[in-house]
Amino acid sequence: MGPLKQPPPVRRIVADDEPTVVEPPKRRNGTAQAVKDAASGLLSAPRRHTARKGKVKERMRTEELAIAYGGKPAVKGVDLPVNQGEVLAMIGPSGCGKTTMLRSLNRLVDQTPTATRRGTIYLDDEDVDLLDVTELRRKVGMVFQQPNPFPMSVFDNVAYGLRERGSRRPSRAALRPAVEEALERAGLLEEVKDNLTHPALRLSGGQQQRLCIARSLAVNSEVLLLDEPCSALDPHSTSLIEELIMSLREEIAIVIVTHNLQQAYRVADKVAFMYLGDLVEYGEADQVFGAPKAKRTRDYVRGGFG
């Protein structure tokens, strides 16, 4: 029996060895200089744009929106406008209600059995509770943290939302222009036009995520909710998505939840900082990052917590 003679090698742990210690960088707490130092790194990040071109128009608005999961409040009475023509970034530590806010805008929060909601959400001055939920979700599209194309071809993924719309199933040929337009708008057409019939799950992660955006665009979404869309992607795919966000910003209202402050600064026109279910600060990106009014915002933006 060969294996019995030679026991497997054992790792020796030497107790008195010098451990490798990485010292945390020293912080000068509380001084204005520290804020400036930390923010200067942030503010030196390249903006994807300089100024808004189109007209800014309010599309969605929440009033006194409060959401609780099984009695535990997640969002505590938030008033937040969502404008077309600019990108709204929602920042804040984990578990502070950003994603819950986002999911309430297309009433996806209704899927959670324990969730209760108070307050009103308006889409073009209409209460979303009075809208048909299918209609609402087509107007307010959503992209998730993990790319999640459906297990079908690239074409069928984009056509998915268009099908079963009327009583009759539209044919492939009839859907083709709409599918190609959506892929074009999502900047994916060039890469996939020769293999529209390939399974979507074989695309790269970044392509999958853009496909998910195309899927929303195909049903003519007017508001696009992005829940940390780049957290599972490499830097190149991230920058492609950020550019895509910039190109879409004129035609649709975009809300992006992100933990990456650099990203928020790069793409956002307006920034909402949420902390423990409260909307602590809402304003122009330059103001929130450069000269935050609230102390908690200042601490968070500086990297003090979260």
């Binding site: 054992v10 790792r11 209609e135 999640n148 297990p151 998915y160 799950l201």
Partner: protein, 346 residues
């Protein structure tokens, strides 16, 4: 001059020292050889550990030996008696209710196995997938879901002879008379492909439910939400996204179930009659399904030294055919589960 120069050097050194961070001892990087114990440092394995490892090896090898001997023995015996002509010959019937005798082939039992497996699977597949979808996607009220779950577990754990005797009890009732022969006095015979197929579907059902449910539950929640976010309801999400995504699991469960049906004897003996194909009525397909028949398993049983036929060479050949059939099905399952599948990050 020289002192001046050395003084300057000294100051320079001091200055450099002052502005340099304190020099920490360099951490020693672990090296592979250093981390490994030398042979003389190694602790010998205890006798019990040696015994355990030896036992594990022995058990594994024993299992290989057993399965290899089954296949080889059946291969030798089966090929010895297997003749191609017998595959396509009807068995010779000596009595009206039993296949007996040494003459004839086993065409009828082979057809019987195929018919029964198909029928049982066709009944079990939609019901099994339906139960799995309900359990995984709806499952409310929860007490009902728990009850359904334990129901499936009980069916899975019931010996097939018990299922068979229960089936006989149920299907000899007058209301089910249309499914099988009737004796002259009006008593229901309670044996036919329909009846055996219904009870056989119960064997395949738990396997299909289990595999489908597992496949559905492995689909991340955000995939369902992505479909809802496009304005789809639950039904079309299940139909267009969830079921296609769990195709592999459904196929695996179904093939496993087919293997179990093909290999079962008790239900065939009690509920199929173990006769040659004896159609009832004149409608082409329906007559066969309402009539009695036999499968390879009951044929092997009847022709084995324990059965009435006592023609072991026939039994060996039929058993070989059955074994090949089941091994083939397991191979198909392997193909399904080995195929690379595209899935989502979790």
């Amino acid at each position: 001059m020289s002192t001046h120069a050395s003084e300057g050097r000294r100051i320079a050194t001091l200055r450099r020292r002052r502005f340099q961070p304190p020099r920490l001892p360099r951490p020693q990087l672990p090296r592979r050889e250093r981390d490994l114990l030398k042979p003389e440092e190694m602790v010998a394995w205890s006798p019990l550990d040696r015994l355990g490892v030896a036992a594990a090896w022995f058990c594994g090898l024993l299992l290989i030996a057993i399965s290899a001997s089954i296949v080889i023995y059946m291969l030798v015996r089966g090929l010895q008696y297997l003749s191609i002509t017998a595959l396509f010959q009807h068995p010779v019937v000596l009595s009206t209710t039993q296949i007996t005798g040494t003459a004839g082939g086993y065409l009828d039992p082979m057809e019987g196995t195929l018919i029964l497996t198909t029928l049982g699977t066709l009944i079990a597949l939609p019901i099994g997938v339906g139960i799995a979808v309900w359990l995984s996607e709806y499952g409310r009220p929860s007490w009902l879901a728990r009850a359904v779950e334990s129901g499936v577990e009980i069916v899975a754990g019931t010996p097939t002879i018990v299922l068979a005797i229960f089936g006989l009890l149920v299907f000899t009732q007058g209301v089910f008379g249309f499914l099988s022969f009737r004796a002259a006095g009006g008593a229901v015979f309670g044996r036919s492909f329909f009846i055996a197929g219904i009870m056989m579907s119960l064997i395949a059902l738990p396997l299909i439910v289990g595999a489908t449910r597992e496949a559905l539950q492995s689909i991340p929640a955000h995939v369902r939400e992505a479909s809802y976010a496009l304005g789809k309801d639950k039904i079309s999400t299940i139909r267009r996204v969830l079921l296609p995504a769990s195709r592999k699991g459904i196929a695996t469960g179904t093939t496993l179930g087919m293997g179990r049906i093909a290999g079962d004897t008790a239900i065939v003996v009690l509920l199929l009659g173990a006769t040659p194909l004896q159609p009832l009525g004149n409608t082409p397909v329906l007559s066969t399904l309402r009539g009695t028949g036999s499968t390879l398993t009951s044929y092997v049983y009847n022709n084995s030294p324990a059965g009435e036929g006592n023609a072991p060479q026939k039994a060996y050949a039929a058993a070989f055919v059955l074994l090949m059939l089941v091994i083939l099905m397991n191979f198909v399952v392997d193909l399904f589960s080995r195929k690379r599948s595209d899935t989502w990050a979790r």
